[in-house]
Point group: C3
Chain length 317, copies 3
C-alpha cells in the first residue's frame, strides 16, 4: 500500500456510487482504513476524531449488518448516532413526506447521513437535497459503494495487493448489486474476472459491455470447479429469494452452487473465499475453519473502511 499520508479527497463529498471515485481516491480510503486498523490494534481507546459529531442512519428497509457496522464505526471514532431503523414504517414517510423534505429535516440533526432505501436513485435524491454528506448504504438493486470498498480492502489485505488478480464471482450475478459494483472497481486494478452462474442469472449485458469497454478480461462459465481453478479470490453471492417473482425459480437456483471444504481444497492454492453475508447455504460450515475463509474477516474490515469514509467526508483526517 502506498503511503498516502493526509491525502483526503473526500471532504464534504457524498458517497453514492463507486463510479464517482478515481483509483487514487479509493486507494486513499483503503489507506485510511488500514491506518485505523493498526491504530485500533495498538492502543485501542479512545479515538476521539469525531467527538461531538452526529451520524444519522436512516434505513427505509432493514439491514442490520450495514447499519450496525456504520454505527460501530461512528462510535469507534468517538461520534454519536441517531437512527431510524425502520423509516418506512415509523417515520414521516408514512405521512407522505418526500425524500427531499426528509433530507432537509435530517441535515438539521446530523453531520452525515447514511441512507438505505429500496428504490434505485433514492440516495441521489437525498444527496441533492442535503447540505451534509450522504453515504449510500444501498439503494435497491442500485449501488452500495462502501460494500465495494470493503471488498477491495479485504482482497488487498488478504492477498497483499489488488494488482494482477483473477477473481471468480459466483451465484446470482444478474441481481447481485455487490458484484456489479465490485467488478467495476476491480476493473481499475486490471483484475481478470471469471463469472460463474447459470445463464438465467448471468451478469447483465450492460455491465459486461462496460467491462469490455474498460478492457477487462472476463470469461463466463456454469461450471463451479472450472471457475475456481484459476481464481485467487472466490466471491460468493446469495441467491436472494426476494429477487424472484416465481418461487420455483428461487428453489431451482438456490442450491446450485455450494462451496464446501472439498471445493476449496480442489481450487487454486491460497484462494480466499468472500461473501457479502448473510449466507444461507452457499458456503458450508466446514469452510469456516479453513484459512481461506475470509468472509468473517470481511465483516471486521467493514468497520475500518466505514470509519475511513465517515472520518474523510467529515474532514477529520
Amino acid at each position: 500500500m502506498k503511503p498516502i499520508q493526509s491525502y483526503n479527497p473526500l471532504v464534504g463529498r457524498d458517497v453514492l456510487s463507486i463510479a464517482d471515485f478515481t483509483k487514487d481516491e479509493i486507494s486513499a480510503v483503503l489507506a485510511q482504513a488500514a491506518r485505523f486498523e493498526s491504530r485500533l490494534m495498538q492502543d485501542r481507546w479512545p479515538l476521539q476524531l469525531l467527538s461531538g459529531r452526529i451520524c444519522a442512519t436512516v434505513f427505509y428497509e432493514p439491514s442490520t449488518r450495514t447499519r450496525l457496522s456504520f454505527e460501530s464505526a461512528m462510535h469507534r471514532l468517538g461520534g454519536s448516532v441517531i437512527s431510524v431503523a425502520d423509516a418506512l414504517q415509523s417515520s414521516s414517510a408514512v405521512k407522505g413526506e418526500t425524500i427531499y423534505d426528509s433530507a432537509r429535516m435530517i441535515e438539521c440533526y446530523a453531520d452525515v447521513i447514511v441512507q438505505r432505501h429500496p428504490a434505485v436513485g433514492s440516495a441521489h435524491d437525498m444527496a441533492d437535497a442535503s447540505s451534509v454528506p450522504v453515504i449510500n448504504a444501498g439503494d435497491g438493486t442500485g449501488e452500495h459503494p462502501s460494500q465495494a470498498m470493503l471488498d477491495l480492502f479485504t482482497i488487498e489485505h488478504e492477498r497483499g495487493s489488488l494488482e494482477g488478480l483473477t477473481v471468480a464471482m459466483v451465484g446470482d450475478l444478474k441481481n447481485g448489486r455487490t458484484v456489479h459494483s465490485l467488478s467495476q472497481a476491480l476493473a481499475m486494478w486490471g483484475a481478470e474476472l471469471v463469472l460463474v452462474s447459470p445463464p438465467p442469472l448471468s451478469m447483465p449485458e450492460d455491465v459486461l459491455d462496460d467491462l469490455s469497454a474498460r478492457g477487462v478480461r472476463f470469461t463466463q462459465t456454469q461450471d463451479l470447479c472450472e471457475g475456481l481453478a484459476r481464481a485467487d479470490v472466490a466471491y460468493i453471492t446469495r441467491v436472494q429469494k426476494e429477487r424472484f417473482e416465481d418461487p420455483a425459480d428461487y428453489l431451482r437456483f438456490k442450491g446450485l452452487y455450494v462451496i464446501d471444504a472439498q471445493t476449496v481444497r480442489a481450487a487454486k492454492e491460497g484462494m480466499i473465499v468472500m461473501h457479502p453475508l448473510p449466507r444461507v447455504d452457499e458456503i458450508a460450515r466446514d469452510v469456516d475453519d479453513l484459512p481461506n475463509a475470509a468472509y468473517f474477516r470481511q465483516a471486521r474490515y467493514a468497520v475500518f473502511v466505514r470509519m475511513a469514509l465517515l472520518a474523510m467526508v467529515l474532514g477529520a483526517v
Copy 2:
C-alpha cells in the same frame, strides 16, 4: 433579546404545557437556545454540558422528527440517549404495564424523560410518577410545548422580535395541536391573529374564549389571500388524515389551501412562511427557494430550543 445570563427557572421542572410557563420563563428558554446557536456556530465541538447524563426518548407513537431532534440535542450537549421508538408495540405496555409503573422504571435508567403518547394527559401521568423531569413531546390532541417554543424562537429569529406581530394561522385549526399552543403563547407577546380555515375546521370555541379573555385581537376568515394580506407570519398546518372519521371530509379539505410562490409574492412583503412539518401538499415546492420559507430553518432551530430545555431542566446552565 434581553441578556438573561444564567437565569434558569426550569431546574428540575417538567415541561408539560406551554401554559405552565410565564413570559419571562419562556424568554429564558429562547435566550438559552440563542446562546447555544451562537456557541455551535463559533467553535463547534465539543459541548460537554450533559456529559454522563442520559435522556430517555419514550415514544408510544412514532414521530421521527421530534425524536431525532431531541436525540440530536442531547448528543450536541455531550449526553447519551436510550430510546423506545415504538413503546406501544415493544414494551411492557403490551404486558399490561401502566404509565405509572413505566415511569418508576424509566426514572431509574435516565436523568430526563421525553415522552410522546397518543392519549391526552399521559404526559402528566408520567410526570406525576417520575422523580426526574419529563418533557411532553406530544400527547395526542393535547400539548407539545417544545414545538410552541421553537415556533416562538423561529418568529423571533426571523422577524427580530416577538412584539407587535400579526400572525396568520392557516388550515385545520380545529384539530391542530400546534396552533392551539402557539396562539396561547403568542398571546403573551400581544400578537394579533388572523385565523384562516373553512368553518368546519375553525379554531375551537374554548381556545377563542381564552384568547378573548387575554385581550388578544383576532379575526376569522375563509379567504387565504385576505388572511395573508396583513400577516407578518403565515403559520401553515397540515390537514391530518388521521383526525377525520370520514375519509371524504379529509379529501374535501386537504387541498383547500395551497401556498405557492405566487401566494407568497401577493402577501405582505417579508412575510415568513412556517410549518410544523411534515408537509404534504400545503406548501408548493416553489416556495422552498424563497427567502420567506422559514420552515426548514425551523427544523434547525428545533435543536437549539430542545438543547436549551434539556440543559435547563437538568440544571446544567
Copy 3:
C-alpha cells in the same frame, strides 16, 4: 459486605447461567455493584471506565426493561451502544442467518454482546461462536442470570445480608424463569424457601430435586398468608399469559394471589416485597407507598449490577 477490592474473576467470561458462578464470584459482582452505587451517589459524573467500548444489545424478542437497563449501565460507564431492538423482524435472521453467523458478525462491531432470545440455549450458541463476552439477557424459559444477581443485590441491600433468610416465592413457580435461577442462587447462602403456588403452577420437580440435593430447606403451600407469615422476603411473580396454551387456565390463575397493603401488614414485620416487573395486578397500588415495597428500588439496583457485569467482563475494574 466484604471488601473485595480489585477481585475480578469475570474478565473475558460469558454470563450465561447463574450456575456457572461460585458464591465468591457472585459476591464479587455484588461488591462491584455496590461500589458503583456509592460512586454514582457521590460525584455523579462522569465515569469513563468503558469509554470507547461498544455494547451490542441484540433482542430477538422485546424486553424494554432489560434492554434499557443494560444500555443505561453502558452509558453510565462512558461506553457506547449499538442495538437491534427487534432482531427477529429486522435482521438477517429473516434472511435465514444462523445464530452462529450472527455472532461472527456482531463480534466485529462490539466488545460485549447482550442477547435476548425466545429459544432456550440460544445464548450458549451465541457465546460458542463469539470471541467477545456474551451476557444472556433471557433465553426463553431458560436463564436470565443478571436478573438473579440483581435480585440478590436487592435482598442484600434491603436486608443487610444474604445469610439466614427465609424467602417466599409466590405465583407461577412452574414457568417463572426468575424464581428458578434465584432459588439456585439463594441455595448458596443457605436461605430457607417457602413456595406459594397452586399445585398446577408449583415449582418443577427437577428444581426441587436440585434444591434438596444442595440441602436447601423448603416448604410448599397454596396459602398466601401462611406462606408470608415467616418470610423476610416475598418474591412475587406475574402469571404470564404467554405461558398458557389454554386462556381459561390463565384467567383461572391470574387473580389467585394479590398482595395488598393489608397482606403486607399481616406478614412478618419488615418483610420486603420484590417483583421482577412488569406487574399487572399481583401487587395492589397501595403497597407502592409502604417501605416494604422494594420492587421499584430493584429496578434502580439493576443498573448497578449490570454496570458491574459489563465492567467486569470487559476487564475495566
